[in-house]
Assembly symmetry: C2
């Protein structure tokens, strides 16, 4: 492959694109790899398309090596299978739906669990036909409320989705482990630094699941690690250890006038000032904060619910959503229409709505909390005595320094990351929904169990750019670079011809070459563009051409080396290995 | 690549699928290459995906060789650019549209003229940036009223669409010719017999255009050839030579009672019987047939129009649609609400609706036609004297034996074919719509002119199957076969191991191998499956394995050859070249 910049569809930009929020987006647009075409939709320009294709090939290769078989489903699907699985409703506003000319309901599939399940139902009949590991590389559509970060969260993106079908749990575990290893190998080959964390499974259904997160400040996910053990989890998946139930030792609850204390801070200050319950050491963690939210159940009426968390913690709406999935929640703020909910002075005792509490609100714990009367709070409100939550919920924020729920010894650290892969043990949610059985070895029907494994391919390109750049531009890893070598003809006096001739020599040897043969562009602009585009190594054919020399540059290290032009092919091929 | 049938997702069918109308569809389903997943939507199974990928690679390869640069656009696009081009409306019911969560209008792009034009506007500024030839390989969506023929006409299909941008007509012609040559090369490599025919450009707009048609009885297109010259055209594009205007020699028109003659046949019989106008040699070609149709103008009110054709020809609704594009027409049959249109007795003289006539209805020609009164016809109704059509229209059927419009000497033959490629000289329709200019060499703005070039990739697979099969199954050309060699282990006594070992040897040499290593399947079933699947050559490892022999079979010729097993790799690699 020889690409000539004189004819390449490429326009590099000196200025930052106005709508670009993250480095990968800024650089991929500035270097001419992608261009915005629609809200949440990007056009892949020639250089970008080459990178995307290389990323895709690495993924295909490892999927095949892991025993995966590639298929391809339509994206435009009828409603019925998604009604059967419940996802037509559960997916909510994220689902892009349409009607055909006959008025029949269709959707643009966000993922294909239903279709893979139906295919396996159609194509298999005996235990001999399993296990199967099937995958596809496909454009997916999701109606994101806030597309962001360029390729990081779009409404249309390329995804590799894979599904395993096994006869039993041991088979599923084995397929899951094989995919986990394949994903590690994929991200290693792509040069993506990543952490595997425990995850919640969201709208897909199922049980065990892990995410591959690329640590990045601009990531939408936060994840924890432990200072003492190897525990790692998406904060959405962090499970708060419930303290053991304890005997009630607190006196009866007492109501106090606490005027002007609608917040935890004001309450704690006043409680200490007035020595409520005879104490002046009240802390926020002694109080119970009750936050009212509206829970949006897909396909059903909204519900108003109160969430109780220790007063020193906020409710984390992402954790709350993960706990409520497929339902979602927003803060309730229409207290005017619900005079029975006393804003700022809510307590769990006798609340007229469903009450879900943090696991720390264990039976026997006593709290300072609202008295459900304006300007009044109650002390010694005891869980299990004065109120019984309708359920526990993981909605309190996770904080750096929290005790590790896994080892109980270390403390948690928190980082941000970008989700680049997700592996699930789905179990039988979909085979149950579609009543998929194969005949077992003993002649009895066996219901297969499923795993689901996804990698966002367009997102992976953005993550690579996010992890591999400097202030001058992109620095592609060898495995995905749009070319192996960027030959820059610095001047016009025979240098363009020499650059093209060197390029032709390299191409014959199987090297991918980009040549900057633009006749009317200065050497300075060419060098700047070359650093922006980020091919791992470049050859500058400049003034010393007349002495038979050119300069080999390494984009990552900045190393430069003058070499006889005739030696350059040998040196490059040696380094490409 | 080594595929093992013991684990491959494959189920061959002995019975014809109930919904399959054409050989390619029947065989691709029976042989386990595709499977219906949705109305007009197919799932590509592993063997089919391999063929589709190989077809795509051939197309990519030739596009790149012709100077094409690959990009990739979103499929989900906002309405605005398609409003600017007019295609939001013109495309009519074929367009799949939807609204996002904010109620904004989107569409699934049927082709991407608008987006390529906007991209070039965005990325170019000077004449130096042109010419450009850009292409993409993308899933397209069209809401076909009647998806048919399996992959031949689906609602979701893979297409390579390409667009050229040039500064002047000479550049466009050169790009067009280059693409024409590339397409010939592509179809030659794919083993697709094809004919290039003149075409109309339909809803794309533009002027010169040609189609690549694969001759096939099941094709939806009909095309003509000439017995004497190299004229070839889609019947939709056949231009009827208009005879020269002639002086009016006919007497004044005269009205006759012709009761019970609502059809041409009954009219001619009665006209001869009653010697209308003193003649008894009336033929259908002397009569003027007037057919009333409803013209559906996209985005506007329907219009009732009469079409006049010589009475010996039918109105061809496909030719009529092509002539009216982007409007479409259906037969008008609600004469009850239009008593001013006298069914069966219509004449062009004084018609209350727009009248479009066949080119043969030239000024000075005299016709026997309806008198616009029930049971009456008129003789000597002269074009240009008694009526003047509101325009000419190509709507009359084209018939085998018609005089060639190109050479005037030969006559036309008619065949059916499947459209597999289409090349257009679009001109400036889109660059005008989006006001795209680049700065010319003389400092003045230049408006680029465009070409558009498409190949249906999924359809190409079906066409290859249509042209390469026999009664026993598919016979893939080498260039697109899912594997190069199918090794069939006929029995179990070491034959499976020998087959796998031979496969491994071949794979190491770069050969793509499918091995039938199923332990519980009879040799007969394996042979039948092998012929159905249609790998060009197979190796049967059977009883003579113990003597060190296997049999090489050629799927196309049926040739069989017993060879020492150790010689087989050499023989195969020799034949694969």
């Amino acid at each position: 492959m020889l690409l000539r910049m004189s004819t390449l569809l490429l326009k590099t930009l000196r200025e930052e694109p106005a709508d670009a929020e993250v480095p990968s987006h800024r650089l991929l647009v500035r270097a001419g790899f992608v261009r915005r075409a629609a809200p949440g939709g990007y056009t892949w320009l020639p250089l970008g398309k080459l990178v995307l294709d290389r990323v895709t090939e690495v993924v295909r290769d490892e999927m095949a090596a892991a025993g995966g078989q590639e298929v391809s489903f339509p994206a435009l699907l009828p409603r019925e299978p998604f009604d059967t699985s419940g996802r037509w409703t559960e997916y909510g506003d994220l689902l892009l739906t349409l009607q055909d000319r006959r008025g029949a309901d269709y959707l643009l599939a966000p993922t294909h669990e239903e279709m893979f399940t139906l295919l396996v139902q159609d194509m298999t009949s005996s235990y001999r036909d399993l296990p199967l590991l099937l995958f596809q590389v496909q454009t997916k559509f999701r109606d994101e409320a806030r597309p962001r970060g360029g390729l990081l969260r779009g409404r249309e993106f390329l995804m590799k989705d894979a599904y395993s079908f096994d006869l039993d749990d041991a088979g599923l575990t084995s397929a899951y482990d094989r995919m986990r290893t394949a994903y590690q190998q994929i991200f290693r080959r792509l040069g993506v630094e990543h952490t595997i964390v425990a995850a919640v499974s969201g709208a897909m259904g199922g049980s065990a699941s892990e995410e591959f997160l690329a640590p990045a400040e601009v990531g939408e996910d936060t994840f924890v690690g432990c200072t003492a053990c190897d525990y790692a989890a998406n904060t959405e998946a962090v499970v708060t250890p419930a303290p053991p139930a304890r005997p009630v030792t607190a006196p009866a609850a007492a109501v106090h006038d606490t005027p002007g204390t609608p917040t935890i801070a004001t309450l704690v200050e006043l409680a200490n000032e007035r020595r409520l319950g005879g104490r002046d050491d009240w802390a926020a963690s002694d109080t119970l904060k009750n936050v009212v939210v509206v829970v949006h159940h897909p396909g059903r009426t909204d519900e108003i619910v109160a969430i109780g968390v220790p007063g020193d913690r906020e409710v984390d709406l992402k954790r709350l959503d993960a706990a409520l999935a497929p339902a979602t929640a927003t803060l309730f703020d229409d207290f005017a229409v619900r005079p029975d909910l006393v804003k700022g002075y809510l307590g769990p005792q006798g609340l007229p709505i469903r009450y879900l509490a943090d696991p720390r609100v264990a039976p026997g714990t006593a709290w300072l909390t609202g008295a459900n009367q304006a300007g009044r709070h109650a002390t010694d409100v005891v869980a299990g005595r004065d109120f019984v939550p309708d359920g526990a919920i993981e909605a309190a924020e996770v904080r750096a320094g929290d005790t590790c729920p896994a080892c109980g010894g270390g403390t948690l650290t928190i980082r941000r990351g970008i989700e680049i892969g997700h592996i699930f043990q789905l179990g039988r949610r979909y085979t149950d929904a579609f009543r998929v059985d194969v005949l077992g070895a003993d002649g009895k029907p066996v219901r297969p169990t499923m795993g689901s494994y996804g990698i966002g391919l367009t997102r992976a390109v953005a993550v690579i750019a996010e992890q591999h750049h400097d202030e001058r531009g992109l620095i592609w890893p060898d495995a995905v670079a749009p070319a192996d070598v960027h030959i820059v003809a610095a001047g016009r006096d025979g240098q363009i011809e020499a650059a093209l001739s060197l390029g032709a020599t390299l191409v014959r040897a199987g090297v991918r070459v980009l040549v900057d043969d633009r006749p009317n562009v200065s050497a300075g602009v060419k060098f700047t563009d070359s650093e922006l585009i980020g091919i791992p190594r470049s050859v500058v054919v400049g003034r010393r051409l007349m002495e038979g020399y050119a300069e080999l540059r390494n984009r990552r290290t900045g190393d430069r080396q003058e070499l006889p032009l005739v030696d350059i092919p040998g040196v490059i091929m040696g380094r490409l290995g």
